[in-house]
């Protein structure tokens, strides 16, 4: 069920009122059933996969907690890792490794090729359940005794298919003490859903129409048109994913839950480290906690720090999909981060602070440089293979103007302005629900009404476009 579909709005319209009426015990059962209905709507067969992952990690979690024997704890963790990463590897990477082996060694392994459909959200819930068992293994978390609580933690529908990748430390206590949302949560939930839908549908899907058509046939477009598509893709992926995250957080709030923020105006970052603290926060913090730090982090000297950064980003790239282009994307970000660490002696601040006009100009300059560096990585992320990336780069080097240059510039600039405008509002108010800061209720309601009405009208134009991150 896509968040940007009418069927999801109907689903929400049924689930929330019933949820409100039920008592604590039934609330949980109902939430679990709703989550499985939501997930099974794509393909009911994948629900079994979700169930297997839930059962295995619930059992492993309890067993690790029950023993103090270090080796036994390690073996149990290994079971969780093998099952989760095995399922993920099979569905996501099997054909990729067969292809890579085939092209490297020239062996004919076509017979090994499997016709597999990638289950929606598998990368997200696998990482989420893994964090649970690893945290128990590290004694940072006590295993839950309630299977239903754990099953909700794994399958909680607002964040099941594309995150935010929640930690058990945050979500499990909320499930245990399940309660109705407060008035503020309800308000914030509705605002986040409207704002998220607008971002996803009116910016993400709108840019996506151009992007998909141009990237789907890049040989038919000249440099200007390709550059236009690349800039729009940078807008699309951000609006699409942050819009999704807002809807997810808003939906969770309607049910009385608080999910972590996944985006914090990443394109307003003054350096690449800051960018990664603001882009897909739940994944980058997961990679930091469960990969970068176990690899040694920055504790083993400067050189190892750079290697660890690079390795973490390469794996982060591969997490996105079975394609060498994602590895290049991750590798480039790894290099950026390493170079930034290498050239900065000071502790990197959470946010760049500008105090006067001069520092503001420097800030703007830095934002533009970081945006351009990130834009280059999006090229590898969006093109389907390395040859296509090279073709794209070649077109950018041997520049050709389009007969529609002015129109394309206007379109791209408008999309960028609107995206940045919302980001500035979030940045200045330090809130994703900045609409609630408007004191006059009539003004606030009118703005939300217009955004929601326009979004619904646009949604009525055709079938909904899936979220970009669903393919991961």
């Amino acid at each position: 069920m896509l968040f940007n579909s009418f069927i999801f709005l109907f689903f929400l319209g049924i689930v929330v009122p019933i949820y409100f009426k039920l008592n604590k015990k039934w609330k949980k059962t109902f939430l679990l059933i709703s989550s499985y209905v939501f997930y099974g709507y794509w393909d009911w067969r994948f629900s079994f996969l979700l169930l297997i992952s839930t059962i295995v990690d619930f059992w492993v979690g309890q067993k690790i907690d029950a023993t103090t024997h270090p080796k036994r704890r390690k073996y149990l963790l290994l079971i969780s890792l093998l099952v989760n990463l095995g399922v993920l590897g099979f569905f996501k990477y099997f054909n990729f490794f067969v292809d890579s082996f085939q092209s490297s060694f020239g062996a004919n392994l076509d017979f090994l090729h499997l016709n597999i459909i990638l289950p929606v959200g598998i990368s997200f819930y696998t990482f989420q359940t893994l964090s649970y068992t690893i945290d128990i293994y590290r004694r940072k978390l006590k295993s839950t005794k309630s299977f239903i609580d754990f099953a909700i933690f794994v399958s909680f529908f607002p964040q099941l298919v594309a995150g935010p990748i929640e930690r058990a430390v945050n979500l499990l206590p909320q499930i245990k003490n399940i309660k109705l949302p407060t008035k503020i949560q309800l308000k914030e939930g509705i605002v986040l859903i409207i704002y998220g839908l607008f971002k996803k549908v009116m910016i993400g899907d709108a840019t996506g129409k151009y992007v998909d058509n141009i990237f789907g046939n890049i040989e038919h477009y000249n440099s200007t048109e390709l550059m236009f598509a690349l800039v729009l893709f940078s807008v699309q992926i951000y609006a699409d994913f942050s819009g999704y995250s807002n809807i997810a957080r808003g939906t969770a709030k309607l049910l009385g839950f608080e999910l972590m923020k996944n985006f914090e105006q990443p394109y307003l970052s003054a350096n690449i480290t800051e960018f990664w603290r603001r882009w897909h926060i739940s994944l980058s913090s997961w990679l930091k906690d469960y990969l970068y730090i176990p690899l040694g982090g920055n504790r083993l000297g400067k050189f190892r720090t750079y290697i660890n950064l690079l390795l973490t980003m390469l794996i982060g790239g591969l997490w996105h999909g079975a394609n060498w282009n994602f590895v290049i994307w991750g590798g480039l970000h790894g290099i950026y981060l390493a170079v930034h660490k290498l050239t900065t002696n000071k502790k990197i601040a959470e946010k760049y602070k500008h105090v006067n006009l001069r520092s503001f100009v420097v800030f703007l300059f830095k934002i533009i440089v970081i945006y351009l560096l990130v834009l280059l990585t999006w090229l590898f992320f969006r093109t389907s293979d390395f040859n296509e990336s090279l073709f794209f780069l070649d077109k950018l080097i041997n520049w050709e103007w389009s007969e529609y240059t002015i129109r394309l510039v206007i379109i791209a600039t408008t999309f960028l302005i609107v995206t940045i405008f919302f980001d500035i509002l979030e940045y200045r108010t330090k809130s994703h629900v900045f609409f609630l800061k408007i004191k006059n209720k009539a003004v606030r309601n009118a703005i939300l009404f217009c955004l929601f009405t326009t979004t619904l009208m646009y949604m009525f134009q055709g079938k909904p476009m899936p979220f970009v991150y669903f393919q991961f």
């Binding site: 579909s5 009418f6 069927i7 709507y41 009116m202 709108a206 129409k209 151009y210 998909d212 058509n213 141009i214 789907g216 046939n217 038919h220 007969e403 529609y404 129109r407 394309l408 206007i410 379109i411 408008t414 999309f415 609107v418 006059n440 209720k441 009539a442 003004v443 309601n445 009118a446 703005i447 009404f449 217009c450 955004l451 326009t454 009208m457 646009y458 949604m459 009525f460 134009q461 055709g462 079938k463």
Partner: protein
């Protein structure tokens, strides 16, 4: 009245009036803000061109036409950014009066000729024109294709508009469907003039101007220039086409699958069609088969009427045999109009054929 009671009554009344005033004030603020926000969204939609499909208007001679001088973006099987020029057709701004020593070819047909699935530089007319220019002929190709046009529409459009552009040659792109009596008569309720026989001669009927739809369209033209107008219009079309239920209820909507009825039945050539061809024969025209045409129609056009024809299947079938799929769109994963390969093949094929014809004419 008891003074205490009177005072409390006044207080309630005051409060009531205050509440009323507050409500009116809030409502006015709500309406004013809504209008302002909708204007901002309208600007956003216009500038990003995401609701910028082709818009039209009604002309008392031509019926529904595309509004001149408009930019548009089409997302369909493919994708196209283009403009309608000030003369109301897609492509270069060729004036009505032809320059001396210029050979002008006009194209008439339906959505295949219009070709809004590809950028203009990949459209077969552009390929065709640039190929012909290689033979040092000062050539101009004008594309008058309009989606949904059948033979009767093409004839009316030709007589009322195309001839004014002084074509030396006109290519009529047709398929069997364009000749069907049903296809032609169905459109008589719409905003188009149509050809019919009166007193044994072919005339163009303009009854559509008496239609209520015509009056509505004429008076609400400005609405379709707004992106919001187009949003509402598309919603209306979706409701009309019964796609609304599928959008709203997704998998819970079970549409009745229409049984494919074999349409092998031979197409009768009506008297009107025959007269249209007879009329066209008097002009410099060539009939182009853009799809398969049955033998009976082919014999009728080429033998009985004696109009020259070009069959695009000669080139399109070669592509199909080589598994090049000239109608397949890989992004939308559907078959439809000609894709880039299709346009290229058609453009090159036509240029070969037309070069021979022009050579024979010793232009």
């Amino acid at each position: 009245m008891n003074p205490l009671r009177e005072m409390s009554f006044c207080l309630i009344q005051d409060r009531y009036n205050n509440n009323n005033m507050k409500m009116i004030k809030n409502s006015l603020i709500f309406i004013f803000t809504s209008v302002l926000v909708f204007i901002i969204i309208e600007i956003y939609l216009t500038q990003t061109e995401i609701m910028q499909p082709l818009t039209g208007e009604v002309d008392k001679h031509l019926g529904f036409i595309y509004s001149p001088s408009q930019d548009f973006v089409m997302f369909n099987e493919g994708f196209c950014i283009s403009s309608i020029n000030s003369f109301g057709f897609i492509g270069k701004e060729y004036p009505q009066k032809k320059a001396p020593n210029t050979y002008r070819i006009t194209l008439l047909g339906d959505s295949y000729v219009q070709g809004l699935q590809v950028f203009e530089r990949y459209h077969f007319s552009t390929i065709f024109e640039s190929e012909l220019k290689k033979s040092n002929i000062n050539i101009e190709v004008l594309n008058f294709g309009v989606a949904g046009h059948n033979l009767s529409d093409m004839y009316c459009y030709y007589q009322n508009k195309v001839v004014k552009f002084q074509p030396d040659l006109t290519l009529f792109f047709i398929c069997e469907n364009d000749l069907k009596e049903k296809t032609i008569t169905e459109k008589r309720n719409e905003l188009y003039p149509y050809a019919e026989i009166q007193n044994d001669s072919l005339i163009i009927n303009y009854d559509f101007t008496k239609n209520v739809k015509y009056k509505i369209y004429s008076n609400t033209k400005f609405l379709f220039n707004l992106s919001f107008g187009r949003l509402v219009n598309k919603m209306y079309i979706n409701i009309q086409k019964k796609q609304a239920f599928s959008i709203l209820f997704d998998k819970f909507y079970f549409s009745k699958t229409k049984q494919q009825i074999s349409q092998k039945k031979e197409i009768d050539i009506t008297n009107t069609t025959e007269l249209i061809f007879e009329e066209l024969k008097k002009q410099e025209i060539i009939i182009v088969y853009r799809d398969t045409i049955n033998q009976e129609i082919n014999d009728f056009i080429t033998t009985k009427i004696g109009i020259q024809k070009i069959d695009l299947n000669d080139t399109l079938n070669i592509l199909k045999q080589n598994n090049e799929k000239p109608n397949y769109w890989k992004i939308t994963k559907q078959n439809g109009h000609w894709n880039h390969k299709g346009h290229k093949a058609v453009g090159e094929f036509l240029s070969n054929k037309i070069t021979n014809i022009i050579d024979e004419m010793d232009f």
